[in-house]
């Protein structure tokens, strides 16, 4: 029974984090077939924003979330204007944008490393998130308040994104662009503005996901890599561009990872996750929730 609770608790935590990271990736892919390989560094930056905010400037942690959200969004827009904006007309945009953002991510990572080593002589930072470190018991399993905060923040943000997409004019324009780009343009939607907004929103969510990472990882420049990879796995498993599917897939992946970590050992978690995905993709090539075959016309 304790095993079970333990799996649920950490599965939900992983799931919430992957969901935040993956929803953004799915949104960006849906809007303009861009896989943003700089997503990971933006999560990392989110974590560093908190460090600077809380330890550097001594400001309250409660407001670090909105700060990381906004800073992530600004970086997302910057990613757009330093890569995608100039490449939209390319015939192989889907491929070249991966390479471009991969390079951009690497440049940001090594830049960050250089700044930290040469200016501050520090790296890595130990977990900075002291808020909500106390815990209570479910059965015999301690659950920290931090985890409750993570779940609550993830749920609130995802609900807000959902409301934004379904209830606002800009949200409708984003969905329209994802479903038929030329038709959206014929309605007067400025699609380039949609791309910037979508990338900024996805990166804002990534910034917040980065804060969550700091609750169980040291803050280092490469910390966003593995979570980004897992977020990619989530959206492929869900079916590219399917946002609701990405939420379920994130929870599923989180649970599988947690189950293997609890029942076997930490190191098998990622492997088990990959096996689940490979089997799922062979079984359903369009993803678990994909309606169409994902293939280039």
């Amino acid at each position: 029974m304790n095993f079970f609770i333990q799996i649920i608790v950490s599965g939900l935590t992983f799931g919430a984090m992957y969901a935040l990271a993956a929803v953004g990736l799915a949104l960006v892919w849906g809007a303009f077939n861009m896989l943003n390989m700089a997503h990971g560094i933006i999560m990392t930056l989110g974590a560093y924003f908190v460090l600077v905010w809380a330890e550097g400037w001594g400001l309250p942690l409660w407001f670090a979330g909105p700060f990381a959200f906004i800073a992530g969004g600004v970086f997302g827009a910057a990613v757009y204007f330093t890569s995608a904006h100039w490449m939209l007309k390319q015939r192989n945009f889907e491929i070249t944008i991966i390479i471009a953002t991969f390079g951009l991510g690497m440049a940001l990572e090594s830049g960050l490393m250089k700044i930290l080593r040469e200016w501050f002589h520090v790296s890595p930072y130990a977990q900075p998130l002291s808020m909500g470190a106390d815990s209570f018991l479910i059965g015999d399993v301690p659950v920290s308040y931090q985890r409750i905060i993570i779940w609550a923040v993830a749920v609130v943000l995802i609900v807000l994104v959902g409301l934004f997409l379904t209830r606002t004019t800009m949200g409708r324009a984003i969905r329209a662009t994802a479903q038929n780009r030329d038709a959206a343009r014929l309605m007067g939607v400025k699609v380039k503005r949609v791309y910037v907004i979508v990338l900024a929103l996805a990166s804002a969510l990534a910034g917040v996901a980065g804060i969550m990472l700091t609750s169980f990882k040291d803050v280092v420049p490469l910390m966003g890599q593995t979570p980004m990879l897992k977020a990619f796995i989530v959206i492929v498993l869900a079916g590219l561009g399917n946002m609701t599917g990405a939420l379920y897939a994130a929870l599923l992946i989180g649970m599988v990872e947690a189950a293997v970590k609890v029942l076997f050992a930490d190191k098998w978690g990622f492997l088990a996750m990959l096996i689940v995905v490979v089997v799922a993709i062979i079984w359903r090539p369009a993803g678990l929730f994909g309606k169409r075959q994902v293939a280039r016309q």
């Binding site: 004019t169 409708r172 324009a173 969905r175 329209a176 479903q179 038929n180 030329d182 038709a183 959206a184 343009r185 014929l186 309605m187 007067g188 939607v189 400025k190 699609v191």
Partner: protein, 238 residues
């Protein structure tokens, strides 16, 4: 003579080095119903895509209400008042009928009046009202066409370009669609209509342009077309 609302001059266009339109010129006067007639694959849709801004022409000029619009982005062109109801409807499949209509009124000039305007659309196209919450992907072919027309009407442009309104529909549905077009003409809307089927437009159009292998090979009104056996037989199979 008054300046035409839309004027296409010496237009050349194509895809990837393959030329589709060769030196096409024609005018659409305010309040007129002008048709482009011709078999499929001869550049009619390409021409509308050029005017709407979805395709950049390789040469020539397009004037709309005194402005040059060739090469402008589609989102800009529609803002000026050129509305395209595209071939294949190009709906938003995973959005409801209502949300599709709402996208039609996306531009600021029509967004505020959407709630009143959509009621008028429901009067013209009552089927849409029965289906408001249904996803566009679940509609029948005729309903899809009606949704595309309703969505285009809500954009409130100065010229309505309709690409093959009868394509792939049952005759009874085509009748319904053409009744709507006749009403639109009667209400003074400027319409540029692309059609493959001469019989549907011969008595309706103010002027007919026959497009063959990317060139306008004949132009005149319906009566002249009636009387021109040679054109009818050569291009329209009698």
């Amino acid at each position: 003579m008054a300046e035409p609302l839309l004027s296409v001059q010496n237009l050349f266009a194509g895809y990837e080095g393959q030329s589709v339109l060769k030196d096409v010129s024609f005018d659409v006067p305010e309040g007129g119903l002008i048709t482009l007639l011709g078999p499929n694959g001869h550049g009619k849709t390409t021409l509308l895509r050029c005017i709407a801004g979805l395709l950049k022409p390789n040469g020539g000029q397009i004037h709309f209400a005194g402005r040059r619009i060739e090469g402008a982005e589609a989102e800009t062109v529609v803002g000026l008042g050129v509305v395209l109801i595209p071939q294949g409807d190009m709906l938003f499949p995973d959005m409801s009928v209502y949300d599709n209509l709402k996208m039609g009124a996306y531009l600021p000039r029509v967004r505020r009046t959407f709630e009143q305007e959509v009621e008028k659309i429901y009067e013209i196209l009552p089927r849409l009202k029965e289906r408001t919450t249904q996803l566009a992907r679940t509609l029948s072919g005729g309903e899809r066409r009606m949704l595309a027309i309703g969505r285009g009407l809500l954009a409130g442009g100065r010229i309505l370009m309709i690409d093959e309104p009868s394509l792939g529909l049952a005759p009874i549905v085509i009748d319904q669609i053409y009744e709507i077009i006749i009403d639109l003409k009667a209400s003074g809307r400027t319409i540029l209509l692309v059609e493959e089927n001469a019989s549907r437009i011969i008595d309706l159009a103010d002027r007919i342009h026959l497009l063959d292998t990317g060139q306008i090979v004949w132009a005149g009104d319906g009566e002249e077309l009636h009387n021109n056996q040679q054109i009818l037989e050569t291009y329209l199979g009698g």
